[in-house]
């Protein structure tokens, strides 16, 4: 097994331990309110994982994760509201629509990098949100659409969301272990080199946008069947900020970071709720702090501390490696 696989497996195993701990929450917490917070945290974790696939593993700094969540939310919401379709039909429709739109967006932004990609995707996200706000006939605009609950039992809703989170995490693990995962990371590190080694950059970037869009759409669809309301607020730019903060704080380009980051951000957001949108100031400050001083995020801090304590070679300074070579 090679080094990347070992690193990915370690992160995956830690994430499974974390998810196992989450699974135990309903055994100790009976408050529907608190379970609801954890469900929403799982929703943010899903979006963070999906965005991390794009930004952390493929190097595509898209700013549209919550736009795809909104597409998923309205996909199943409209299927239910207008056609009376149950979630079992609406959610797959939502995933399909999100994936197709993700593929389309991916194909369009393939040549774009850096600020151009960020601006294009944020423009796309705003267009989607304004369409949802203004297409009253189909979306009921700012009133939002009532959507049936996936389960009236909050514990059941909790485990459904957890099942989705586990499935996405396992799927991501196998994706990263495959040659596809290596291609995505190669594109992240150097697109020109990747193309020069025979990697079809256009195809694999499009795949990343498609898969990420599908996961976000799935998360959005499940979220509205938990909250009971599809509204344009799901795609608000502040929501995107929370997703980005989750990934940066947890650790970008890792399997565990976005998962834990999603929980941290949701719990913090809940804690600061009385301050309204001013809580975004706290997240902004945290992101600046992490980007400036702890670029590897919390997982990087934990990993480095572990390596120092138990003497893993991973923490060996690059200079030593260079000196060994020359």
């Amino acid at each position: 097994m090679n080094a990347s696989h070992l690193r990915t497996r370690r992160e995956f195993l830690v994430s499974l331990v974390f998810l196992a701990a989450v699974a135990a929450v309903p055994l100790f917490v009976t408050s529907g309110y608190l379970l609801g917070i954890v469900i929403v945290a799982m929703y943010y974790a899903l979006l963070a994982i999906a965005w991390n696939l794009l930004a952390g593993y493929t190097g595509q700094f898209s700013l549209a994760p919550t736009a795809f969540a909104m597409i998923g939310a309205y996909g199943t919401g409209m299927a239910s509201y207008h056609f009376g379709l149950p979630p079992a039909v609406g959610v797959p429709i939502a995933i399909l629509v999100s994936a197709v739109i993700g593929m389309g967006l991916g194909r369009i932004v393939v040549p774009l990098r850096g600020p151009y990609l960020a601006l294009t995707t944020i423009a796309f996200a705003e267009i989607v949100r304004h369409v949802a706000r203004n297409a009253h006939e189909y979306t009921r605009g700012d009133f939002g659409m009532s959507v049936p609950l996936i389960s009236s039992d909050r514990v059941m809703a909790f485990y459904l969301m957890l099942a989705l989170l586990v499935a996405v995490q396992v799927g991501l693990y196998f994706l990263l272990r495959s040659h596809a995962g290596l291609y995505l990371q190669a594109i992240r590190d150097d697109e020109t080199a990747a193309a020069g080694r025979g990697i079809n950059v256009i195809f694999w970037k499009t795949v990343a946008f498609t898969v990420s869009g599908a996961i976000c759409g799935f998360a959005g669809a499940m979220y509205v069947h938990f909250s009971g309301l599809a509204s344009p607020d799901i795609g608000h730019i502040f929501e995107t900020g929370l997703v980005l903060a989750s990934v940066v704080i947890g650790g970008i380009g890792t399997m565990i970071g976005p998962l834990v980051g999603g929980f941290i951000v949701q719990f913090a957001a809940e804690g600061f709720r009385e301050f309204g949108l001013r809580h975004m100031l706290v997240f902004a400050a945290m992101v600046i702090l992490f980007v400036r001083f702890f670029r590897q995020g919390l997982w990087g801090l934990v990993k480095n501390a572990w390596d120092r304590l138990f003497g893993q070679g991973a923490a060996r300074p690059a200079r030593q490696v260079k000196e060994a070579g020359e």
């Binding site: 080094a3 040659h179 020069g196 080694r197 490696v321 020359e326």
Partner: protein, 240 residues
């Protein structure tokens, strides 16, 4: 039949003519050195070949078919291996993963890519940095790693842009030995380098460029004594 033909290739950047009617033909299994002063158009020519730049005019025929307009990845898979002047590798993937990724992209199974990568790591003396991220390697090791990545496929021609620049003499020896062995197996090489002694140690077939044009082609003696080459590349002192 030639393996690679540039046919009257033009490329301009604004008013600067980087390539001005370049026509070159290379045979399969060639070992050719491409020399010229900075700004003569060597790297632009390689970028046109590898699909990173489209020519304004002219054609590039590889293995009997035009490759103009193809994606760089498609050109690479057809057998044009490219090593860049500024080292390009996957900085957050380990040495092994850099090679395995390239192998898989060139069509090897994961298992075969792993086998070949392990052999190359040994051959290129990168064993000490087997599991290190590419970004942690020294400049020379990175060059060797990029070089090895080209040979995770089976390039009909390996296009090396300044492979010997700023690397340790021992690493240069490793690379030269590797080039000789692969050339003996039938792989072609087009080597751009300012390190003339090393190039001359590898090949007697030289192409000299200046101001976007091919000014001389032939054996080392012919090219290095060509007045245009002396004037453009070697300087007046070389005449004496």
């Amino acid at each position: 039949m030639s393996l690679l033909r540039f046919e009257n290739v033009h490329k301009a950047f604004g008013g600067l003519k980087a390539l001005d009617g370049v026509s070159i033909s290379l045979e399969a299994g060639c070992m050719t050195g491409l020399i010229g002063p900075n700004g003569s158009g060597k790297t632009t020519l390689l970028n046109v070949l590898s699909g990173n730049l489209a020519p304004d005019q002219g054609d590039v025929i590889f293995d009997g078919r035009s490759i103009v307009g193809l994606q760089p990845s498609a050109i690479a898979r057809r057998g044009v291996g490219r090593m860049f002047q500024i080292t390009r590798l996957f900085r957050r993937l380990s040495t092994l993963d850099n090679l395995v990724t390239s192998g898989c992209a060139f069509g090897l199974s994961f298992h075969d890519a792993l086998d070949r990568a392990e052999r190359l790591i040994e051959e290129l003396e990168l064993t000490a940095v087997h599991d290190e991220d590419g970004g942690n390697l020294s400049g020379g090791q990175q060059k060797l790693l990029e070089f090895g990545s080209v040979f995770m496929g089976a390039p009909k021609i390996a296009v090396l842009d300044e492979p010997f620049a700023a690397i340790h003499p021992h690493m240069r020896e490793v690379m030269v030995r590797f080039i000789r062995e692969r050339h003996a197996e039938g792989h072609g090489f087009l080597i751009v380098s300012h390190d003339l002694p090393v190039v001359l140690g590898l090949t007697d077939d030289l192409i000299a460029m200046n101001a976007g044009q091919v000014v001389a082609r032939g054996d080392a003696d012919t090219v290095l004594h060509d007045p245009l080459v002396i004037e453009a590349y070697l300087g007046e002192t070389a005449v004496s």
